[in-house]
């Protein structure tokens, strides 16, 4: 399944909606998009993932990349589906992001 993305920047907050699957094939697209968003040096990166059904290790590594590229960046993962939460927990990525059920009020 393909990945479609929609991104926006508002003040210090970059938002990226991910729909579909992030796997080895689509992760480079996600990474390119995150890279672009980080060029604006936002303080927050909000990933809306309620319509994301799968995130492979390559997708999770994009989160690491974001953290490394911009130390101090706060990453919100909004409404992840259960398998994605599970993978985040077991690999320890869960501790490095904020998992929320609702989109944080940020600007």
């Amino acid at each position: 399944m393909a990945l479609s993305m929609h991104s926006s920047i508002e003040g210090n907050t970059a938002r990226l909606q991910l729909v579909g699957e992030v796997d080895g094939t689509t992760a480079p697209q996600m990474r390119a998009e995150v890279d672009k968003l980080l060029n604006g040096s936002p303080q927050n990166l909000v990933l809306r993932v309620d319509e994301l059904t799968f995130m492979s290790s390559a997708g999770l590594r994009v989160l690491i990349f974001a953290k490394q590229k911009q130390p101090g960046l706060t990453i919100y993962v909004v409404k992840p589906q259960a398998p994605i939460i599970d993978t985040l927990r077991k690999t320890g990525f869960y501790d490095g992001v904020y998992v929320t059920e609702t989109e944080p009020a940020l600007a």
């Binding site: 992760a27 999770l60 690491i64 993978t87 077991k90 690999t91 320890g92 490095g96």
Partner: protein, 703 residues
């Protein structure tokens, strides 16, 4: 420097662009926009890199290393534009097939990288592999992007360790474990609160280097049970963590999951020691499969007979050629990698005496590998612990080439304490030596060289030690011929499980006796997973092949045997509270600080009259709090392994307060062990130690 291009392709093969690579480091390493592949063979004539897309049966490309890419015996190349997450790689080597000369090259085989950091093919535990796959154990890339935060190996002083030997899968595979992903690194992480409550501050994991649980699999002819390589003492790849132990192994994220678990262990003050198996590999003897080493540099990696067959000092078909410079360097590189990349706190070396043999198998007086490890800068704070014997008859407990660094599993401690507890006569002299940390063996190294244990994965569990006179290994389908026969066990009057309350009470007491002696001995204590809750293997003393409830930890026993668990928790805390029990140096047998008593003194039923006769079964000793590394209480221990109660007259002290009971194994829980100083005071100048029991007293060193 902006605008530099350090890596640019010079060659192309079927659309894959590549160039000459770096010879070091060996393995596959991401560099710039490419991956550097480097591998060594002293005798090959040519080498081909084989690249797969993940899980694909056929390679996507095979690239022969051009002659100009060889330096010495090293083949290296950088391949560009690969999808790091989605590739698997291996090699084909050309060279002579001449087994008599130790050469076993076979270009038809794809071999795995000895430096492979992630290995695919057994990603999900117990999922039956595709046996038709031409490349079973597929090397993949690992990434250096894990966020360790401020984590650091703990460097806990070795004398302060209480080690818990455990199996990653067996710890939580049982449904009673109530974890989200049973049998995994992630589940181990979930159970850290249990370990903390138990009080251990170090876990020692049975092998977690990638191995094949399907190795030598078979069905039990009578029960039909699938027997697997459950313990994992048969390495496929030394640099790769066992993928099947990761809940995320199917996603190729075992590295992250393991590192997360280690970070959390460290956060909770728990060290991690790995049981490492450098004595042999999973390739077996000349009839075994070609997985890696055999097809790359057979004569360098293995000890070979003059006829080109495999020496078998491991009992497992082959013997790694540890003191050949190539194999030796691989071992050192591997341990450095784990220490640096995984923050491992120490290593326990399986059948370590093999590491001290030369290329013909003869023991060396100054083995280069052991010396190198002892003085290695990266490993300088790691614990190095030897299982100081091998299957070839080399027994080096007390004489392992230690260079002032190596500690040992003290098999003599195990044997003596087992015999003493079961009531054998004439052990008191040896027990007096063992509780001091075995100065007869380690006088030049100190008591911390002695890893004291009574049980370990190999042999009876503690509960079985007091429940069986004989091994019961029929479930292993080897006609009960496998496993040790000299167990020094005693069934307390009935072979196996019984409802007899007197037998069960005695067994419980014997388990407490064993643990008390272990925790009150100088040296580093190690307990076996589940002993604290009375785990049984039904008398099986070699459960290497059982991925079943027989070898798993049954967490329902936490409730059933809560009294025993409470005893373990408190006796471990007792040890950790008393520096007198955790010396770095041996006792001087003198009144070091003028306190009026010796730093250690031995007693019998009468003070200062230990009975070392051949019929004796009881011994007492007293530790001076003034003689401890830090000022401590005086500690008195009366061990009565006779079948009747005996009165021990207490030695006089020229100072301090009265004696208080801390432990009395003849009493039922909760009166068997008390919070520090909360037990009853001793009135009079003697204590009665019940049949087969131990009493421990403390007294303040100031009045």
């Amino acid at each position: 420097m902006e605008g530099r291009i350090d890596y640019y392709p010079t060659h192309e093969c079927r659309g894959f662009r590549f160039r000459k690579g770096h010879v070091l480091p060996f393995g596959a390493t991401v560099v710039g926009s490419g991956v550097n592949f480097s591998i060594y063979s002293s005798a090959a004539e040519a080498c081909t890199l084989v690249l797969f897309r993940k899980h694909e049966p056929e390679p996507m490309v095979e690239i022969e290393f051009p002659r100009s890419f060889h330096i010495g015996g090293v083949y290296s190349m950088i391949v560009f534009d690969l999808d790091y997450e989605d590739i698997e790689y291996g090699y084909r080597f050309s060279g002579p097939w001449d087994p008599g000369r130790g050469l076993r090259f076979d270009y038809s085989k794809i071999v795995s990288d000895p430096y492979g950091r992630v290995i695919g093919g057994r990603d999900l535990w117990r999922a039956e592999p595709d046996w038709n796959d031409l490349y079973q154990h597929r090397a993949r890339l690992a990434f250096d992007d894990f966020d360790w935060e401020a984590d650091h190996p703990l460097e806990t002083p070795i004398q302060d360790l209480v080690v818990y030997e455990m199996h990653v899968r067996g710890f939580t595979a049982h449904e009673s474990s109530s974890v989200s992903a049973p049998g995994t690194y992630a589940a181990l992480r979930e159970k850290i609160p249990y370990l903390k409550e138990l009080g251990v501050n170090c876990i020692e994991l049975l092998p977690i280097y990638e191995f094949d649980e399907w190795d030598n699999n078979r069905r039990h002819p009578e029960t039909g049970e699938l027997l697997l390589n459950y313990w994992g003492y048969s390495t496929i790849a030394f640099f790769a963590p066992k993928a099947g132990y990761a809940a995320t192994g199917q996603f190729g994220m075992q590295v992250d999951e393991l590192k997360t678990t280690i970070k959390e262990l460290h956060r909770n003050g728990i060290e991690l020691i790995l049981d490492v198996v450098f004595n042999h590999t999973a390739e077996g003897d000349h009839r075994g499969p070609v997985i890696s080493f055999r097809g790359i540099d057979n004569a360098a990696y293995y000890m070979l007979t003059p006829e080109g067959y495999y020496y078998n000092f491991s009992g497992c078909g082959n013997t790694l050629n540890c003191n050949h410079p190539v194999a030796r360097n691989m071992v050192i590189d591997c341990l450095r990698y784990w220490a640096a990349e995984y923050h491992i706190d120490g290593f326990r070396f399986d059948l370590a005496s093999i590491l001290g043999r030369d290329q013909n198998g003869a023991p060396l007086s100054n083995p280069p590998l052991l010396e190198s490890l002892a003085f290695d800068p990266v490993l300088s704070k790691c614990k190095l612990i030897a299982e100081a014997w091998d299957a070839g008859g080399l027994y080096q407990v007390g004489s392992f080439p230690a260079y002032g660094r190596w500690a040992e599993w003290n098999g003599k401690y195990r044997d003596a304490v087992r015999r003493f507890i079961k009531g054998d006569e004439g052990l008191t002299g040896e027990i007096a030596t063992r509780v001091q940390g075995s100065p007869d063996l380690y006088w030049h190294r100190g008591p911390t060289a002695s890893t004291n244990f009574i049980t370990c994965h190999d042999g009876f569990t503690l509960r079985d030690l007091v429940s069986y006179n004989w091994k019961h290994n029929e479930a292993n389908a080897e006609n009960n011929n496998d496993g040790a026969n000299d167990n020094n066990s005693w069934n307390c009057g009935w072979e196996g499980e019984t409802a007899d309350p007197a037998v069960n009470e005695l067994r419980l007491r014997q388990m407490k006796n064993a643990t008390t002696i272990l925790m009150l001995s100088q040296g580093v204590p190690m307990i076996l997973m589940g002993d604290e809750i009375g785990r049984t293997q039904k008398g099986n003393n070699n459960a290497y092949c059982h991925d079943t409830e027989l070898s798993w930890m049954d967490w329902r026993l936490v409730e059933t045997n809560s009294g025993l668990l409470r005893f373990f928790q408190k006796v471990i805390r007792f040890r950790r509270a008393h520096p007198a029990l955790r010396r770095r140096r041996f006792f001087e047998h003198s009144d070091v600080h003028g306190a009026g008593i010796l730093d250690i003194s031995f007693h019998g039923l009468q003070p200062y009259s230990p009975d070392y006769s051949s019929w004796s079964r009881c011994l007492a000793f007293m530790l001076s709090g003034h003689g401890a590394p830090e000022l401590d209480a005086d500690i008195y221990v009366a061990m009565n392994m006779y079948w009747d109660a005996l009165p021990f007259r207490l030695p006089k002290r020229g100072h301090g307060g009265a004696w208080t009971v801390e432990i009395n194994t003849s009493m039922p829980s909760p009166d068997d062990i008390f919070d520090p100083g909360q037990g009853p005071a001793v009135s009079g100048d003697e204590v009665i130690a019940g049949p087969r029991s131990i009493i421990v007293l403390t007294a303040n060193t100031h009045s």
